[in-house]
């Protein structure tokens, strides 16, 4: 057993878990943050993507003890109170989800993607970088559309902040 301390969605949290505990299970079972999904449990499907120290990580591929001391953002930490994050709003607006199982991972991957491409995104880049996230419902069509739309909104938001 190990003690684990993290900052999750802006709050300091700590707990004790077996060394073999995956980060995703620690988030879901110890912290009750069930928005992060476990799809394949083997880093193939992307449903469990979260941000660890500002980078998109498949949380089923990292041990909770490895993450100790990190700053984590999960899907629950994206919205500002009742105001959805622009990526969440775009998924809603463009029907970027159907069953919703892949959606938390898609959105966390997509926000990371936008952050890594301040120059903006095009469809080919979005599709290539979405390789690690599988969706069976949407055919990706509206997910790609939502990410491109959110990318525009987010870059405008940045421009406003800078001005």
């Amino acid at each position: 057993m190990s003690d684990i301390s993290l900052t999750v969605n802006g709050k300091r949290v700590s707990g004790t878990a077996e060394d073999r505990t995956l980060l995703v299970h620690f988030l879901r079972e110890n912290l009750g943050l069930t928005g992060t999904h476990v799809g394949c449990d083997t880093s193939q499907c992307g449903a469990c993507v979260i941000h660890v120290d500002g980078k998109a990580v498949k949380s089923c591929t990292m041990l909770a003890v490895q993450a100790s001391g990190s700053t984590i953002v999960t899907i629950e930490g994206l919205a500002d109170g009742a105001d959805l994050h622009p990526m969440q709003a775009a998924f809603k607006e463009h029907h970027g989800l159907q069953c919703g199982f892949c959606t938390p991972g898609m959105i966390m991957t997509a926000t990371d993607m936008v952050n890594r491409h301040p120059e903006g995104l095009d469809e080919a880049t979005v599709r290539a970088e979405l390789e690690g996230n599988i969706c069976r419902c949407t055919g990706y069509h509206n997910i790609v559309k939502a990410i491109l739309a959110a990318s525009e909104t987010m870059s405008k938001g940045k421009a406003r902040q800078a001005a």
């Binding site: 394949c40 083997t42 193939q44 499907c45 029907h95 989800l97 159907q98 069953c99 919703g100 469809e123 080919a124 979005v126 599709r127 290539a128 979405l130 390789e131 996230n133 599988i134 969706c135 069976r136 419902c137 949407t138 055919g139 990706y140 069509h141 509206n142 997910i143 790609v144 559309k145």
Partner: protein, 366 residues
Amino acid sequence: MNYDAGDYAASLDAAMAAADYAGFAERKAAAAKKGKLRGIGMSNYIEACGLAPSAAVGSLGAGVGLWESAEVRVNAAGTIEVLTGSHSHGQGHETTFAQLVNQRFGVPIDSVSIVHGDTDKVQMGMGTYGSRSGAVGMSAVAKALDKVEAKAKKIAAHLLEADEGDIVIEDGALKVTGTDRQVPWFQMALAAYTAHNLPGGMEPGLKETSFYDPSNFTFPAGCYVCEVEIDPETGVTEIVQFVAADDFGNIINPMIVEGQVHGGVAQGIGQALLEGTRYDASGQLLTASYMDYTMPRADDLPSFKVSTSNTPCPGNPLGIKGCGEAGAIGSPPAVINAITDAIGITDIAMPASPSTVWAAIRATKH
């Protein structure tokens, strides 16, 4: 059972226009200059869905009837709960079914809640498959709404001292046609439950149930056109364009319908190009994870060009044909026809993986 209604030529024309079929020869020549094999393939499908007349499926050996059930509860505050036997696991019933009620009575859409999947609450239902939620599930809702409407009009006519036949329901109110007399929906609902002033002999409350058993299957149909470019050196097939034109009958929510087609097309392209279950000689499954079983990923697919035409289905009260499976039906033959066209052969096995396609190209040279 007869094919009931459909404008098949409209789908064909729409697909060929969206695909710029006429410009294909030029695109094929341009691809050849880059060393690529370009092909175009078409598929015209018609399916029997909206499952299904109970007597018909009984004669085919089904152990159940394929009706659907619905209950509409108008609460004392005028809010409406729709309990449906059609379960939503991503098909958007919560939105589409609520839209149906909103269109019918003009009540705010957020005053309508859709209850499904909770067997403590919902009476027996038959579920979501066979493109049946709209055609069969919503038809059951529509029939329950008919009964609610009839009783609501009786109550309103009594309150307004008007003839029941003169009452119309619009914009969230029950109005005496041709006058400015009206009673708001919520006030009528409250009157149903206070029961202080109801027509003589009427039971209090406003809650109705319906079972709907379809009279026929529904027959969505459409035309799909796929265009591919194949790298003859590697056998890798790229879908460069995919067009779907479907006649789905009446549509309640176009965005959700398009989403259903997108997902189906992706699944069909997966079947045609990528997805296969492989076992070795000893029976060991070789494709047991997503690392080996190739589910389509975003960069295996293009964005799709989707359109619909809307020949009302005569078999159900809403004129809906259904859209859930169409994408997965029309797409595999269109993809395979495009590949065989590109290579100049008549058949290729699915999934047409790069090695299969490469071998087929090699075989044409010997």
